[in-house]
């Protein structure tokens, strides 16, 4: 009789679960064992006094210092080399035979056992370079040992930096190196730190490579040419030569705790590295008054980065007022007043340090009616960048081409960039305005019913452009056409009479609104 698949599955899961349980129990036992035996020994004086009688009595201070200094030195040497390599591999070269060799070398280096590093460090740094058993020899050896880790994690982190940011930087006239130091590395920092922490963890626990290069002197080191003993080595010597089991346990406990601390921090960093959709714009209890009339009645909502927020509502519901509050355009209307907060990247746009003009360069806006300036297509697009001081012809050319392409207009106008922007059709004009906004390299794009004056085909074009653009920009779209919001928006906000009635994922707003009024509006009962 064949056992039924159901039973086989049950047996299999039970066996697998047991195996996992055994693994966990064993590993936890090891930690528990060391801590239970060692923690009672650990005290302030154990940590911070000099050892006596070869470690039989007294504390572990010099080994604590050694354990601190050696990894630090190793990182100081390996970090520039590792990050430099990663930068070269990612930013300065394509896949060539050389990069393949570098990668292969890195992989090989990662697999070499520590005793070989010990042998090498001993013969090269200690003997050949005559550095002796010293902090420096040990640091150099450990640096080579952790180099592959740093290269790999840095490379991964650098690759994770969006390509678009580099393009923006280049298009603003930065050189490759400036782009690397100002845009790429700061954003890859958490990943690089992860690599560093992993390396520190490995250096702290290393014994074989250290004992042959840094020696095992129990004295306090005074220069990089002095020999040091790390906690791991100290523990090894005490346990192996049976000097003092008690102090060995104590050292082991300190060692295990420090490694776990370092590794936990690393893990925490890795978890928090790819910042989950961060909030680009955060509006807090925003109220706008025009004279006596309160147009916006306390609106709060968050817009995640790289998403489209659709704002819908009947006319007169203050959608546009809301939009214009985000780039302080309402200020241009006399008698207007506002309360509450608008945070762009956690910075209050109404704060005292925020300059409205600079703000409007970061926040692009496209209006309901296309308004090309009475000049050529090219100059329309170059207008904003020129205001920001970009004059280099080549930079402007690329910037303009990318913007036109992004607005799906390039193919239609590439042969007549010098003709007037006013000669374009309505749909083209609107896409020109969109391209003009893009040429300013904004972070946030506000669109105020951009399709209200357009035919369905032009509308479809604009919508297509918007869905492509959200990969790089955060977009807020005010529209009278609820279907348009349903088609392109990630989240939708429904405004009525100056109030935010409901804000949520577009699917939910249109299929399962929580508020009856939303339901009435999206199903077309009024508005």
């Amino acid at each position: 009789m064949r056992i039924s698949p159901k039973h086989t599955q049950r047996i299999a899961i039970a066996l697998l679960g047991t195996a996992t349980g055994v693994t966990l129990v064993v590993l936890l036992f090891i930690i528990g064992f060391v801590l239970e035996k060692g923690l009672p020994v650990v005290s302030f004086s154990f940590l911070f006094s000099m050892p006596k009688d070869m470690g039989r009595a007294g504390g572990i201070l010099p080994t604590l210092v050694g354990t601190l200094l050696l990894p630090l030195l190793a990182i100081a040497i390996a970090l520039p080399l590792g990050v430099g390599t990663a930068v070269y591999l990612t930013e300065y070269t394509r896949e060539t035979r050389l990069t393949r060799i570098i990668r292969f070398g890195t992989d090989c280096l990662a697999g070499i056992p520590s005793i070989i590093f010990g042998l090498f460090g001993f013969i090269f740094f200690v003997t050949t370079l005559k550095l002796g058993w010293s902090l420096l020899s040990g640091g150099l050896t450990l640096a080579i040992m952790v180099l592959p880790t740093i290269i790999r994690t840095s490379e991964e982190a650098i690759r994770a930096v969006p390509r678009a940011w580099r393009e923006v930087s280049f298009s603003l006239g930065a050189t490759r190196w400036e782009t690397v130091t100002k845009v790429v590395l700061p954003n890859a920092l958490p990943g690089i730190v992860t690599g560093v922490m992993l390396s520190v963890g490995r250096s702290i626990g290393e014994t074989a490579a250290v004992i042959f290069t840094a020696g095992s002197s129990l004295r306090m080191p005074h220069s990089v040419f002095d020999s040091v003993r790390t906690m791991a080595v100290h523990f090894y010597i005490m346990a192996r030569e049976g000097i003092s089991n008690e102090n060995a346990y104590g050292t082991a406990a300190v060692l295990v705790i420090s490694v776990l601390l370092v590794n936990t921090t690393t893990y925490w960093l890795m978890e928090n590295m790819p910042a989950s959709p961060s909030i680009k714009v955060s509006v807090r209890d925003l109220k706008v008054f025009f004279g006596q009339f309160q147009a916006l009645r306390g609106v709060s909502l968050d817009v995640p980065a790289f998403q489209i927020l659709g704002v819908i509502g009947p006319s007169g519901s203050a959608k546009t007022t809301f939009l214009r509050a985000l780039n302080r355009m309402n200020e241009l209307t006399p008698g207007s007043r506002m309360e509450g907060q608008v945070l762009l990247d956690d910075e209050d746009v109404y704060g005292p340090g925020c300059d409205a003009v600079a703000l409007r360069k970061r926040v692009g806006m496209v209006f309901a009616m296309p308004v090309p300036l009475p000049m050529s297509i090219y100059d329309n697009l170059a207008y904003g960048p020129r205001l920001c001081g970009i004059r280099a012809r080549a930079t402007l050319d690329t910037l303009i081409e990318t913007s036109l392409r992004a607005a799906f207009l390039w193919d239609e106008v590439k042969d007549r960039l010098r003709s007037s922007g006013l000669r374009l059709s309505g749909g083209q004009q609107q896409r020109l305005c969109l391209a003009r906004t893009l040429a300013m390299q904004p972070e946030l794009i506000l669109l105020d019913e951009p399709c209200s004056g357009l035919d369905p085909i032009s509308t479809a074009r604009i919508e297509e452009a918007l869905t492509m653009l959200k990969a790089r920009y955060t977009i807020i779209l005010v529209t009278n056409n609820t279907k348009q919001a349903a088609r392109v928006a990630d989240t939708t906000a429904f405004f009525l009479m100056g109030e935010l009635i409901e804000h949520g994922p577009t699917g939910q707003i249109f299929t399962a609104p929580r508020d009856q009024r939303t339901d009435d509006y999206v199903t077309g009962r009024f508005g």
Partner: protein, 284 residues
Amino acid sequence: MNTPASQPAHEVPVPVAGFNLHNAVFFGAGNGLNKVRMQVADFNLHYGSFQALINVGMDVAARKITALIGPSGCGKSTLLRALNRMNDLIPGVRVSGQICLDGEDIYAPGVDVCALRKKTGMVFQRPNPFPLSVFDNVAFGLRVAGERSKAAIHETVERSLRGAWLWDQVRDTLHAPALDLPLDQQQRLCIARLLAIEPEVILLDEPCSALDPIATAKVEELLLNLKKQYTIVIVTHNMQQAARIADYTGYMLLGEMIDFGPTAALFTTPTDRRTNDYLSGRFG
């Protein structure tokens, strides 16, 4: 199977009330008896707080092709995956209402999901042959069911590959990796893999979206041939495809079944304005 003894199998289930107009046509004026194989009634499905299907109702006629159309995100794939409970794999899914296969509620407690899925085979959007040989792919379902006899497996594999019109292309390379086949043959291999377990209903989720027009035509022709033996439900974003092969078509929008009926009727005289808008290409 767990047929409650008290519940007799329906030969012709009573149509569920609350449908739209076309059901009258469907049940009344059909040519003879259209046996209903699967029946969806007042079916709701939530992903967490989002409701993906809203009071959906539909009847799937035996040995006919039923197509589900609608703009992307309208819930047509979700509905299809509800028919063989593939949605169970997604955490946070809740359902209410009824889906019956031959009169038995497939969401009733105690239903053997594996057995259900053997009866309602599924073909996915992207061809997904296993990273095994062609032969092992087709034999997979039999082995899952515990078939050991080599002769029986071999016979079924050949029959299934013939059924999917693939035998002549692969008869000499049965033990080559399935992933080396061209895309359209991979998709037909996935159909052959299903035929081997002799399902009662075949569910297809946009099976041609990854294929070129010629390969698509071939798969369509195959489906028309297969409906002599099998009941077929197909999700497609291609309205012409629905018009070409489906006997019945359902139009879905934002989780609702807007319109359902014989294909010709739906395409020529849709009862709902939104169906008309969609068909005439105004949105979607």
